[in-house]
């Protein structure tokens, strides 16, 4: 049976990748009006990267067929 932690890894990794991609896109093409406070911290880049990393670790550790 696939572990619940694997599903959580998938969710965090996909969400992290999407958020990171959105952040990198904004870095390359900065919006004229960012619309958020503390835009200069680029939270979507480091938060997205953290979620992606965390998700990939879970995916690997709890991959189907692998003993956790």
């Amino acid at each position: 049976m696939i572990s619940i932690w694997f599903f959580i890894g998938i969710s965090l990794a996909v969400n992290g990748a999407l958020i990171l991609a959105a952040g990198i896109y904004q870095l390359m093409d900065p919006p004229v009006n960012p619309g958020v406070v503390l835009y200069n911290l680029h939270a979507n880049v480091w938060w997205g990267a953290a979620l992606l990393l965390f998700g990939l670790i879970y995916c690997f550790k709890f991959a189907p067929g692998r003993k956790a």
């Binding site: 969710s11 904004q26 406070v37 939270a43």
Partner: protein, 567 residues
């Protein structure tokens, strides 16, 4: 001019970008995929209703916590933190931690070794059929109505925050829940609750991090709140010596005895919605560890709920107002503080994750209600009262149909509330009527062997009726609040605390009096149900760091330290 899809209204608090929409859609796809994957593992009654009783302590513990961590809970308590300050934290600490530890160490062994399917099921074993039916019918009725009320409230939130049409929100969320719970039963609900737990933290944790950065740290935040509101907004206990010296209008006795000793104990130890998750644990050690793990994380929840409300007081340029005033003036209400903070800090992608966390919180709360309703209906109402000779397969089929019907009743309730808004207040009040007396009945049943069946039944009935009576008295004559809550300065929340305390005492007194006037239950019938008549199974020969008692002690020490720090 941008053309919007038909289900999106033009006025809304936040605007989702395409990447945000992808994240929301991915969440729906994932929960349906989990339900689909688990459909082959819900063929027997134990699988469908009890998740096979094979959940680890971590899964059961996080699910136990998540079932209570709904979107309305997040937004409502963030709004309360804006309105009342750090006092709202009491509902997460003294209003939860002692009760969770009590459940783990004192009550869980009885629930677990009795092998009951539900809390009403335990009442049948201890007090007989009348007590079980009284509690099962009230629980089933109120759970499904509460689910509908929450559904409407959430759809309303989605309308305000995202501009989504109410009908769209109601039907998409309820159909999704119906599909994944019908397919995978309790296991599917639990899996999605654990997923929701992670999504909520991933989606909401950035708000306090960035908020504290903007405010200049905790010390500066306290100074700003003292300037914009009051110094009492950042103290947990120091203003509770008098009803009039704190923003909530409550006395410490109401918090300690009403909230901590009665309401929290009642909710966390007898509300089947949360207890069902623990009953699915794989062994006695996991069943005891699960509420302790839940308690550990519960202490952290104020970081993502209370802190954003406090930060809103300090950094939001506008002043938020009560819901009633917001409806007239068009200003934002207290309950909007979390979405406002989300929109303040979260750009494309992060906003989608934050909104997904709110949707996930709502859907898992609804799944929790529906799966608990399904179990109580099938095992505690349908089987004893309507068809006691069905096969296991028959009851699983009944469970699947009940899931669909439960969702449809919830949808019906949501539309009823849409027509008659005052129903929402009545249903929420009604739900609280049963919690405090039920705790008195269950705890007396577990700890006092002299309690009898008639004592349990009449105590539960009189406690519930006394709670309804006090509520109706204040409704008819608001000045009666000075008697129920002991002070004319008391506000709504204080009434709930004292109402619970009195109904608990009524239930206790009636149960004791009737029990002493009736024949004692023979000792042989109490084995496995009552303290002193039951050999509590050992958690096994495990090292200290795996013992529930050790971790309960750790949580207790942290609990006291936190209360002292924020005194």
């Amino acid at each position: 001019m941008t053309l919007l899809p038909a289900f999106i209204l033009p006025t809304r608090l936040v605007h989702l970008s395409p990447i945000d929409v992808v994240i929301v859609v991915f969440y729906f796809a994932l929960v349906l995929a989990i339900g689909w994957y688990l459909k082959g593992r819900a063929n027997t009654g134990e699988d469908f209703f009890m998740a096979g009783r094979e959940m680890t302590a971590w899964v059961a513990g996080l699910s136990f916590l998540s079932a209570n961590l709904g979107a309305l809970e997040l937004m409502g308590w963030a709004g309360s933190a804006y309105q009342y300050g750090i006092l709202a934290t009491h509902w997460y600490w003294i209003g939860a931690i002692p009760a969770m530890l009590f459940l783990a160490l004192v009550m869980m062994p009885f629930y677990y070794i009795s092998k009951t399917h539900s809390v009403p099921g335990f009442l049948r074993l201890r007090f007989g059929e009348p007590s079980r039916v009284l509690s099962a019918v009230s629980f089933a009725f109120m759970t499904v109505l509460m689910s509908g009320v929450n559904m409407f409230a959430m759809a309303k939130v989605m309308q305000i925050v995202l501009g989504w049409d109410i009908n769209f929100s109601i039907w998409v969320s309820s159909l999704t829940v119906a599909i994944y719970v019908t397919l995978g039963g309790l296991r599917s609900a639990i899996f999605n609750e654990v997923l929701q737990f992670f999504l909520i933290w991933a989606g909401a944790l950035l708000i306090p991090i960035l908020g504290l950065y903007e405010a200049g740290g905790w010390s500066n935040l306290k100074l700003q709140i003292a300037q914009r509101a009051s110094d009492q907004y950042v103290h947990l206990w120091s203003g509770l010596g008098s009803f009039s010296h704190n923003p909530m209008g409550i006395h410490w006795t109401g918090i300690v005895f009403g909230l901590g000793a009665v309401i929290a104990m009642g909710y966390w130890t007898t509300d089947f919605l949360v207890v069902q998750r623990i009953l699915a644990a794989k062994d006695i050690r996991s069943a005891e560890m699960a509420p302790i793990i839940g308690a550990g994380f519960k202490m952290l929840v104020p970081i993502i709920v209370i802190l954003p409300g406090l930060l809103g007081l300090a950094v939001l340029p506008e002043k938020l107002v009560p819901e009633s005033m917001a409806a007239v003036t068009g200003a934002h209400s207290y309950n909007d503080v979390l979405p406002l903070m989300l929109a303040r800090y979260c750009g494309p992608g992060l906003l989608g994750l934050g909104v997904t966390a709110l949707i996930a919180g709502f859907m898992s709360g609804m799944a929790g209600n529906v799966s608990a309703f399904t179990t109580v209906w099938t095992y505690d109402i349908y089987r004893p009262l309507i068809n006691s000779k069905g096969s296991d397969h028959h009851y699983v089929t009944m469970g699947r149909w009940t899931t669909v019907i439960g969702v449809l009743i919830s949808v019906g309730t949501a539309y009823l509330v849409m027509q008659f808004a005052s129903i929402m207040d009545y249903v929420q009040a009604l739900f609280s009527f049963f919690i405090a007396p039920l705790f008195a009945t269950v705890v007396l049943g577990m700890l006092w062997k002299r309690a009898t069946g008639p004592g349990g039944f009449w105590g539960l009935l009189c406690g519930t009726l006394s709670s309804i009576g006090m509520w109706a008295w204040v409704k008819v004559d608001p000045s009666a609040l000075r008697y129920v809550a002991l002070s004319p300065d008391a506000k709504g929340l204080a009434q709930d605390m004292y109402q619970a305390l009195w109904s608990f005492i009524v239930c206790l007194v009636v149960t004791v009096a009737v029990s002493l006037a009736t024949e004692p239950v023979p000792d042989g019938q109490l084995t496995g149900l009552v303290y002193g008549m039951t050999e509590i199974p050992s958690v096994g020969d495990v090292p200290l760091y795996e013992k529930p008692l050790f971790w309960a002690a750790v949580v207790t020490v942290v609990f006291f330290i936190l209360n002292i720090i924020f005194w």
